[in-house]
C-alpha cells in the first residue's frame, strides 16, 4: 500500500502551490484548451514555436494539485525541445504513470518528472497528470478544439449522482 506522500511529493506540492510558466501568452503561435470532466479542470496551454522547436511554453487554468503540478513541470521539461522530443517525453511519462513502462528505460530521461511515479497507484488520478500533456499535444496539432481526458482510460464520470 502506498503512502499519500508517494503521490503528493514535496516537489509536486511546491509546483501546485507556485506553478511555473503560469501565464497567458498573448502572441502565442499555438494554443489549446484541455478539460477533465471528472474534476472540472480546465487548462490552456500556449506555445511559441521556432521552426520545429518549442521556444516557449506556458499554461493557465484551474486544476487539482496533480494536474497543476504536472502542467507546471511539463512546461519546464519541454521548453527548448523539438516537437518529436516533446512527444517522446509524453510517451515515456505516460508509461511511467500508468505503470506500463515495465521498468524499461527506453526513450528520453524523465528527470524531475519521475516524481509522478506515485500516480500509478491512483488510477483515477492518471487523467489529472496527463491533462496538460494531452493539451500540449493538441496545441502542437492545433485545430483549436478543446481536448478532453475522456479519450483515455475508464469512463470516469458519466453518470451517478
Amino acid at each position: 500500500m502506498s503512502d499519500l506522500r508517494d503521490l503528493y511529493q514535496e516537489v509536486i506540492l511546491d509546483h501546485s502551490k507556485r506553478p511555473r510558466n503560469f501565464h497567458a501568452m498573448p502572441d502565442a503561435d499555438r494554443k489549446a484548451d484541455g478539460y477533465n470532466p471528472l474534476c472540472g479542470d480546465r487548462e490552456t496551454v500556449y506555445l511559441d514555436l521556432e521552426g520545429d522547436r518549442l521556444k516557449d511554453v506556458s499554461f493557465q487554468g484551474a486544476g487539482c494539485a496533480i494536474s497543476t503540478a504536472s502542467a507546471s513541470m511539463m512546461t519546464e521539461s519541454v521548453k527548448g525541445k523539438t516537437r518529436a522530443e516533446a512527444e517522446a517525453l509524453f510517451d515515456r511519462f505516460h508509461a511511467l504513470i500508468t505503470g506500463k513502462d515495465g521498468g524499461a528505460r527506453n526513450g528520453p530521461e524523465l528527470g524531475k518528472l519521475e516524481v509522478f511515479s506515485g500516480v500509478r497507484e491512483y488510477p483515477v488520478r492518471v487523467k489529472c497528470a496527463t491533462l496538460p500533456w494531452h493539451t500540449l499535444k493538441a496545441a502542437l496539432e492545433s485545430d483549436g478544439a478543446t481536448v478532453s481526458t475522456e479519450s483515455e482510460g475508464p469512463q470516469a464520470e458519466s453518470g451517478g449522482a
Partner: protein, 417 residues
C-alpha cells in the same frame, strides 16, 4: 414524566448502532481503516434483508412473470406484483396501477418526456425546470425541446441555493406545458416546496413531474398530499438493488399517454395490422424486467418502512446539523448550499485545495465522499465552481463518522496549506 411516556420516547429514539450490523459492507476496512461511507447520494449500501431477498428469488422463486401457467411463474409474478403494492403504499398512491416499474429515475424522466412530453409539447411551448436539477432532469427535456422547437425555461437559484417561489410563479405562463423539478437537490441538499409549486402550476392547468431520487430515501413522501402528477425514484438510493425504479403517475394521465417502448408484456393483442396495448401499468413495461431486483426492492421498502421514514429523516437531520456545525468551524471551508430546508447532502469547498485532492486524501483515511460536479454542472456554474466535495448521509451513518470526516479535512489542510 410518566414511565410510559419515558418508554415511548426511548422507543421513538433511533438506534443507529442497532441498525449498522444489518449492512455487511459497513464492516469493511479500506486501506486498513474502517470504511466511512458518506457517498449515499450517489448510491446507498444494502442491508442483509435486501441481499437475502434477491438471492432467495434465484434460489427458490425465479421464473419469468406474467407469462407462465406453471407454479414458479405464478410465484414470481405474485412476488413482483407484491413489490409494486409496497411501492404504492410507500408513496401513498391511490392504486397500484399508478406504479410503473422502470430502470431508475433517469428512465422515468425519459419515459414522461417521450410520451406525455411528445404528445403535449409543441413548437414555441415551454418546459420549466429549476437551476438545481441533476443532468437526468435536464437532458431528456432538452432533447424533447430540440425535437419540438420548444424552450427549456429555468427558474434561477438564490445565493443560498433555493428557488424563489414568487419568481418561479412568474415563469409559469400559457406556453408552459410541464414543470419538472427535483424534490431534493443532489448537489446542494435543498428541499423544494413541491406542494406549493404544484398548487401554483395546477392553478394554470400545468402538470408537475417530481424527481424524487434523493428525497424518497430521506423523508416521508405522500404523492396525494404533494398532489404532484408524476413522482420518480430509484431503488439503489433507497438501499435496494440498482436497475430498478418507480414512476408514479396519476391514473388519468397515464391512461391518456401513448406507450413508451414496444414489446412483450405491454400489449393485449398483436396482429401485423394492429396492436392493442395492455392496461396500466403494464402498458409502460415492455420486455422482461429486473424481476429479482424488483422483488428485492420491495424488501428495501419494507426495511426503511420498518425503521420509519420520519425516524430516518430525524437521524439524518441530526447528522447534517452536526456536520454543518463541525465543518463550519474549519477556517477556509465554505459550505455550498445553505437553504433553510435541507436534507442529507453537504457540499463544501476548501480555500486553495481542489475537491479532487480532498477526495483522494479522505479516501486514504477510509472516508468515501463524492468530488466533482455531481452530474449537476449548471449548479456548479451558478456558484462559479468547477467542483465541490460532497458528503451525503444514510440511515447507518453516525456522528463518529462525521468526526472522521472532519479529522480527514484537517489532514488535507495539513498537507496542502
Amino acid at each position: 414524566m410518566s414511565t410510559v411516556a419515558v418508554r415511548e420516547r426511548a422507543s421513538a429514539t433511533y438506534d443507529v448502532e442497532a441498525v449498522r450490523p444489518d449492512f455487511p459492507i459497513l464492516s469493511l476496512k479500506v486501506y486498513g481503516k474502517p470504511l466511512v461511507y458518506l457517498d449515499n447520494a450517489a448510491s446507498a449500501q444494502k442491508p442483509r434483508a435486501v441481499i437475502d431477498a434477491e438471492r432467495d428469488v434465484y434460489e427458490h422463486g425465479y421464473a419469468n412473470i406474467h407469462r407462465g401457467v406453471h407454479w414458479l411463474s405464478v410465484h414470481a409474478t405474485d412476488a413482483y406484483d407484491a413489490a409494486r403494492e409496497k411501492a404504492r403504499a410507500f408513496l401513498n398512491a391511490r392504486d397500484a396501477k399508478e406504479i410503473v416499474f422502470v430502470r431508475g429515475t433517469t428512465e422515468a424522466v425519459n419515459l414522461v418526456a417521450q410520451t406525455y412530453g411528445r404528445a403535449h409539447v409543441g413548437p414555441g411551448d415551454e418546459v420549466l425546470i429549476t437551476g438545481l436539477e441533476h443532468h437526468s432532469n435536464i437532458v431528456p427535456w432538452q432533447l424533447l425541446c430540440e425535437e419540438k422547437g420548444a424552450t427549456l425555461s429555468v427558474a434561477r437559484l438564490t445565493d443560498s441555493g433555493e428557488v424563489n417561489l414568487a419568481s418561479f410563479e412568474k415563469l409559469l405562463g400559457p406556453k408552459t406545458k410541464i414543470v419538472s423539478i427535483a424534490h431534493l437537490s443532489n448537489a446542494l441538499g435543498t428541499i423544494l416546496p413541491i406542494a406549493e409549486i404544484a398548487k401554483r402550476a395546477h392553478a394554470r392547468g400545468i402538470p408537475v413531474f417530481v424527481d424524487g431520487a434523493q428525497a424518497a430515501p430521506r423523508m416521508p413522501v405522500d404523492v396525494q398530499a404533494l398532489d404532484c402528477d408524476f413522482y420518480a425514484f430509484s431503488s439503489h438510493k433507497i438501499y435496494g438493488p440498482s436497475g430498478v425504479g418507480v414512476l408514479y403517475g396519476k391514473a388519468d394521465l397515464l391512461e391518456a399517454m401513448p406507450p413508451y417502448q414496444g414489446g412483450g408484456d405491454m400489449i393485449r393483442s398483436v396482429t401485423f395490422e394492429k396492436t392493442t396495448f395492455n392496461t396500466l401499468p403494464y402498458k409502460f413495461e415492455a420486455g422482461t424486467p429486473n424481476i429479482a431486483g424488483g422483488i428485492a426492492f420491495g424488501a428495501a421498502l419494507d426495511y426503511v418502512t420498518r425503521l420509519g421514514l420520519p425516524a430516518i429523516a430525524a437521524h439524518e437531520h441530526d447528522l447534517l446539523t452536526y456536520a454543518t456545525q463541525r465543518l463550519s468551524e474549519i477556517p477556509g471551508l465554505t459550505i455550498i448550499g445553505t437553504a433553510r430546508e435541507k436534507a442529507g447532502v453537504l457540499s463544501f469547498v476548501l480555500d486553495g485545495v481542489h475537491p479532487h485532492d480532498i477526495g483522494t486524501v479522505l479516501d486514504r483515511e477510509g472516508v468515501a465522499i463524492r468530488t466533482g460536479h455531481h452530474c449537476a454542472q449548471p449548479v456548479m456554474d451558478r456558484f462559479g465552481l468547477p467542483a465541490t466535495a460532497r458528503a451525503s448521509f444514510g440511515l447507518y451513518n453516525t456522528r463518529g463518522e462525521v468526526d472522521a470526516l472532519v479529522a480527514g479535512v484537517h489532514k488535507v489542510i495539513g498537507m496542502f496549506r
